[in-house]
Symmetry: C2
Subunit: 94 residues, 2 copies
């Protein structure tokens, strides 16, 4: 946790593509990998980084590992950016 890891994870186009894939629901590591022209090992490396950044979490089932988007961290990043942007001082905490 920490924005450094989160933004670092988001900085890579492949990792952003993975997150976009997960928008429509969870996918196994293999299913994710099939969308890219890279070895499974490399996909695993990227998934590890997304996981460390808490942008995804995994669910183990049979001998598959499913990855799912963690929207709460996406929210946190949006809040940080919103605070940086400032100026919406009427957006009151309710």
């Amino acid at each position: 946790m920490g924005f450094a890891e989160t933004f670092k994870a988001l900085a890579d186009p492949i990792r952003r593509d993975i997150l976009t894939l997960l928008r429509s629901g969870r996918l196994s590591a293999g299913e994710i990998g099939s969308h890219f022209d890279m070895t499974g090992a490399t996909i695993s490396y990227h998934l590890g980084i997304l996981k460390k950044a808490d942008l995804v979490f995994e669910q183990r089932e049979k001998n598959f590992i499913y990855y799912e988007l963690n929207t709460s961290v996406v929210e946190e990043v949006m809040l940080w950016l919103s605070d940086l942007r400032g100026g919406n001082e009427h957006a009151e905490k309710k």
Copy 2:
């Protein structure tokens, strides 16, 4: 332009601190540098990265260079994240 550069720029804690400093208004390179324990050359390097990412723009005045936050790119990033997060389908374009 492109999210890779933007997120990469945001990934570094010093650069995020610089952006936070700029929340309350523009500052010269020197004023920014005075908040950090690094050489001016290093600050200049980080400012260059923020500038390439369009997160800041510069205004030259006398022999100072002032940096100012570019909130429109912050907005764009928030939109991308908002789309990733999904699920707020009642947030209609007006």
